[in-house]
Amino acid sequence: MTNAQKNRIIDKSFQAFGVVCTFFGLAILAVLIYNIFEEGLSRINWDFITNLPSRRPQKAGIYTAVMGTIWILVMTTLIAFPLGVGAGIYLEEYTKKTKLASLLEINIANLAGVPSIIYGLLGLEIFVRIFGLGGSLLAGSLTLSLLILPIIIVATREALKAVPSSIKDASMALGASKWQTIWNQTLPASIGGVLTGVILAISRAIGETAPLIVVGALAYVPFAPSSPMDEFTVMPIQIFNWVSRPQHGFAVNASAAIIVLLLITFMMNGIAVYFRNKWQKKIKW
């Protein structure tokens, strides 16, 4: 066998291995989703969504968890969206290339890599104890807001960076102030990217379990929360709670709850992709 033949065989074998690896990843995804749907789909009905938690798996529902997740979703968005986008605008448009600016950048990169459970410890000490918020929705959403802030900031900066400077220069030349330029030109042009980042970040927050457990979200909450100071549970914690129990009925419940959680997550990711594509198509410089 000549060298050339040998090399071609290696090349072809690696190609086959590459196909196998790629489909390994996709196959696992398929097995995971299939397994969960097979076990949980028949459990999903209107009662499952609207029932309160119960000791008996057949009667237990996810109502309090769903309401908790919706509260967390709304409150985290209200807190993290303005702060993250504001910080992104400031860092991208108002800071000069100084030592301080690069320090800020390193800091944000580092924050993005801090494990989520560490944010839980931060929230536990600052929001739960020092601010005295207890294991409330407010403490939970403040903690999650800090967690996703770096993601929103980075996405905002990327989106702003993509707007050509000619647009900004033209606006300034017409006499607009810096803020008027940002508000009327740069932001509208980059809103697709910004929203994509925000939605992905929020969807990450919805799936988070560990930091909320640490700040004291409860596994068992008998009633749906009605104000930001109420105690709460969320869907991932409800799932964790059911997974930890030995009876098979709770595993079925966990699967059913996972289906609902996955639907929410995939839907948000889908919306994010839609926004990105729509804005990318619309704007041609």
Binding site: N7, L29, Y94, F240, T265
Partner: protein, 291 residues
């Protein structure tokens, strides 16, 4: 500048300063509680004792079992994610048709978007029984299953970021290699991967850092038994799982048990901080090289 605009800028500045406050907050909180912890437990015991039993009557405060648990699951995860992820990256970049790459990359990224509690359930109810059918002595909670599933979760970190790095290599390098008669395999591993090495290393470090900080998979599937050693078939406990275990119970503030989660937390933070700093440093150097 108009007055109203000054207020807006001040508000924006405040938003940006929150990131700094967060970092300072994390460090202060961890340090404060850890210093209190070391008033009662000797530092030497913390880093050398091979037992971690703060919740038992016979208390030991050696972090080593939690550290080996964390390293073990991380190692297994990387042994899955590195070969698979890197192969996918090279395959998608050098072999696969363009359309295929465009569909598969986001599909694989779905793996990273799935909430980790779902993976924990998957490890416990699907992967562990499957592994037990091959190796019956495997415990119901074990590091192996949790590590493998964690590896699957971080595949897209390695594959997507490495593919981005390969994509950024100037086309001329690839064409020159092909022009010399190299196969795609030779070009991939003798030209492309070395040229993109810093980007690939960054992706691997980020994946490791992610695996070290991963919580729910190990809390659900790896057990809650701190154990010094590297046996993947028995229940272990990671740093993160310990923090969850304590938080699930009702530990009053100010007790030594309460402080243990901060001492464990600062250990975790130190690991990921070093890894993130290294990756950031490599990334900066790499960018300068191409400017």
């Amino acid at each position: 500048m108009k007055f109203s605009e000054k207020i807006i800028v001040a508000l924006l500045k405040f938003a940006a300063s929150i990131t700094i406050i967060t970092t300072i907050g994390i460090i202060m909180v961890l340090l404060f509680e850890t210093i209190n912890f070391f008033k009662e437990v000797s530092f030497w015991e913390f880093i050398t004792d091979k037992e971690w039993t703060p919740l038992f009557a016979q208390k030991h405060f050696g972090i080593l079992p939690l550290v080996t648990g964390t390293l073990l699951t991380t190692l297994i995860a990387i042994m899955v994610a590195l070969p698979v992820g890197l192969t996918i990256a090279v395959y998608l970049n050098m072999y696969a048709p363009k359309g295929f790459r465009k569909t598969v990359k986001p599909l694989l990224e779905v793996l990273a978007a799935i909430p980790t509690v779902v993976y924990g359930f998957f490890a416990l109810s699907v992967v562990t029984p499957f592994l037990q059918s091959i190796y019956p002595d495997l415990a119901g909670f074990n590091a192996l299953s949790a590590g493998i599933v964690m590896g699957i979760m971080i595949i897209p970190f390695v594959s997507s970021l490495s593919e981005d790095a390969l994509y950024a290599v100037p086309k001329t390098l690839k064409e020159a290699s092909f022009g010399m008669g190299s196969t795609r395999f030779q070009t991939s591993f003798k030209v492309m991967v070395p040229a993109a090495s810093s980007g690939i290393i960054v992706s691997i470090i980020l994946a490791i850092s992610r695996a070290i900080g991963e919580t729910m998979i190990v809390a659900i599937a790896a057990g809650q038994q701190p154990r010094f050693g590297f046996d993947p078939t028995v229940p272990i406990e990671t740093i993160t799982a310990y923090i969850v275990q304590v938080s699930m119970g009702d530990v009053p503030h100010g007790t030594l048990e309460y402080r243990t989660i901060f001492a464990a937390g600062i250990t975790l933070f130190a690991f990921t901080f070093v890894l993130n700093s290294v990756s950031f440093w490599i990334k900066k150097r790499y960018q300068e090289k191409y400017d």
